[in-house]
Symmetry: C2
Subunit: 302 residues, 2 copies
DNA sequence: TTCAAGACTGCAAACAGTTGCACTAAACCT
DNA sequence: AGGTTTAGTGCAACTGTTTGCAGTCTTGAA
C-alpha cells in the first residue's frame, strides 16, 4: 500500500520495475487515488476557489477560463462563485469555501480592505484588481490604459470629457478616475457611480448629454455599449456627436456598431497568474500592462 | 467524538443538553466538521460538477447562477467547467470530475448519445437539452418556441425563411429544424452548421443574402446579433429588408438595436431543476416551456 | 426490590490514503 | 571478508469522521 502510494506521489523513491508493475495492475483495476483520503492526510484538497462579481459580465469568462486551464494543468479543480455584485456575498463565499479549498482568488472585490484583510487570515488568498497588503496581488494597470484613452481623446481635440464611473468599492474605478484626472488640457466630469452593465450605461445617457461633453470614458465596455444605445435614443450618434471609449475589450465590443475604441485588459493572463501564485504560495504584487485599441467609436469633435 | 459527530449529522439521537454543550464548545473552538474526512466514510463529497459548452456564451450564466444557488442551498458546492465547444473535452472533464463529485450535470452536450451513455455509467448524471435514456433529463421545449417563431414570421407574410442553424451535435439545433420544417406555408432554407457565436452569425450573412429569404430564424441570439451586423455590412437592414428572430432571450438582445424578437428559454429554471434532480437522485424527464417574445427585429416583408 | 425496556453515550473499527521508521539486500570500501 | 552505505520495501500509526455494537443510566412496571 505504501509502495502504491509512493508510486503516485513520489515515483523516484520506488524501483522502476516495481513502479511499472504497480502501474499496470492499477490500470487493470481501474484504480485511481481517492482525493478525499489524500486530502485527509495531506491537508490539501487540491481545490481552489474563484470568486467574481458577476459571471454574466463578459469581462470575467476569459479570466475564468484561463484560471480553470491553469488549475487543471496542475491537477487542481476550481470552484467558481459569483457574488452578484454584493459585497456581503464575498465574505460569505470565502467562509463557505475556506475549509475545502487550498486557497481562493478574489477578483475585483467590492468589499473594504479591512474586510478583505480579515478574510485573508482564514484562507490563502490572491486578489485581482485590488491593492492589499498581506495577500498576493495581481493588478491590471488600468490607470495607464485610462490615461492613454483620455490622451487619445485629447489628441482628437476633445476638451471636456466625462468619466462614466463604475460601482462604489471598485479599485478599478478609482484607479481610472485618478489617472484620467491627471491628463493635462482636459476638463473631466465624473458621472457615477453606475452599475457596471449595459443598463448602467443606458441609464447614464441623459446625464452625459446634459453635461455637454464631447468625449466619454466609460468604466467598461458594457457601460459604453449601453451608453451608446442610450445616446442613440436621445438622438446623439457616436462618434459623430460624442466619442466613447470603453475598457476591457470584450468580444461584443468588437462586433457592435460602431466598433468600440477601448482599453484591452490582460484578463486571461491575470487569471492564469493568480492561480499560479496561489498554488505556489508566493506572495507577490504583479502589475500587468494594458493597451489602447482604437476603433470606430472615437473621432474629432465637430 | 461519536457524540460530536451525531450532534451534527443526527441531532435527534443525542440528548438536548449534550447537544447544546457540544455546540457551544464547538463554537468556542471554531470547530467545523472536515468534509474530506466525512467524504471518506460516507462516500459522498457534497460536490457537483456542471459542464457547459462555453461560459462566455451569455446563454449559460443564468443557468450557472441558478444551479449554483440551488446547490448552495442544499450545502453542495459546484465545479463549473467549460468544454470550449469540444466534444472530446466533455468526456475528459467527466472523467476528471468523476471521483470527486456526487454527480454531474451536462448542459447542451455535443457528444453522441453513445458516448454519453457510456459516461453515465461512471457518474450519476443529468443532461440538459438532450434526450438520453438512462439519465435524468431536463429539456427546454425549444421546438415549440421555434414553431411559434416561424409561425410569427409566416403571420407577417414571410414565405421563404432561412434557418441559420447551430453546431453539429446539438440536440437543440435539430429540434429547431424539425419544428421549423413543420410550419405550413413556409419554405425553409437551412444554412449551417454554424458556430453558436456572433462570429458564426456574421459569417453566415452572405449566404443568407444569397438565399433570397425575407425572414430568418437564428440558432441563438448571439448568432442573430452577428447576423444583423453582417447583413448591415452588406447594406441590408433589419427589419426593413430582412426579419430576424433569435433564440435564448439573452440580456444584450434586449438592448441592441433593433431589439431582438426571440424565443425566451427557461435557463434558470433548468439549472435549478437539474441540480435538484441530481441531489435527489431521481431519474425523470422534464420538459420546460419556452415562449416567443416579439420585439423590433421582425416586420412584414416589403 | 428487581428487571426490562429505552435512551444516550462511547469504544473501536472502518474509510483510503501518507509517512516515519525499521528492515532487507545489494553494492561499495578498505 | 567484514563493515558501511544506499536503495527499495513494508509495517504501523495517523488523518477526522461515521457507524455498529456494547455498555451505562434512567425510568417504570411487576
Amino acid at each position: 500500500m505504501s509502495t502504491v502510494s509512493r508510486t503516485f506521489s513520489a515515483p523516484h523513491m520506488v524501483n522502476a520495475a516495481t513502479r511499472t508493475r504497480v502501474l499496470t495492475v492499477a490500470e487493470e483495476l481501474g484504480y485511481r487515488p481517492n482525493r478525499a483520503a489524500r486530502a485527509l492526510t495531506t491537508g490539501r484538497t487540491h481545490n481552489l476557489g474563484l470568486i467574481v462579481a458577476d459571471i454574466a459580465n463578459p469581462f470575467f469568462p476569459p479570466l475564468i477560463k484561463a484560471a480553470h486551464a491553469a488549475a487543471r494543468q496542475r491537477d487542481y479543480h476550481l470552484f467558481v462563485a459569483d457574488t452578484d455584485e454584493e459585497p456581503a456575498a464575498e465574505e460569505e463565499l470565502v467562509q463557505a469555501f475556506s475549509k475545502q479549498v487550498d486557497g481562493v482568488v478574489l477578483c475585483s472585490p467590492r468589499s473594504s480592505n479591512k474586510a478583505l484583510e480579515r478574510l485573508a487570515e482564514r484562507v490563502p488568498f490572491v486578489v485581482i484588481n485590488r491593492r492589499l497588503r498581506g495577500a498576493a496581488t495581481v493588478l491590471m494597470d488600468v490607470g495607464h490604459g485610462a490615461r492613454l484613452a483620455v490622451e487619445h481623446l485629447a489628441g482628437l481635440g476633445h476638451r471636456r470629457v466625462a468619466l462614466v464611473s463604475g460601482p462604489a468599492g471598485s479599485w478599478t474605478s478609482s484607479e481610472i478616475r485618478t489617472a484620467a484626472e491627471q491628463v493635462p488640457g482636459v476638463e473631466l466630469v465624473v458621472i457615477g457611480p453606475n452599475a457596471p452593465t449595459e443598463r448602467g450605461g443606458l441609464a447614464a445617457a441623459g446625464r452625459v448629454r446634459d453635461s455637454g461633453v464631447t468625449g466619454v470614458l466609460a468604466y467598461n465596455d458594457l457601460v459604453a455599449i449601453g451608453l451608446i444605445e442610450g445616446l442613440g435614443d436621445l438622438g446623439l450618434s457616436v462618434p459623430q456627436d460624442v466619442s466613447v471609449v470603453g475598457i476591457d475589450d470584450i468580444v461584443s465590443g468588437r462586433l457592435n456598431r460602431p466598433k468600440l475604441t477601448t482599453v484591452a485588459m490582460p484578463t486571461a493572463a491575470a487569471g492564469r497568474l493568480a492561480v499560479d501564485l496561489l498554488i505556489q504560495e508566493v506572495s507577490a504584487t504583479t502589475s500587468l500592462e494594458t493597451r489602447l485599441v482604437v476603433r470606430d467609436s472615437t473621432a474629432p469633435p465637430r
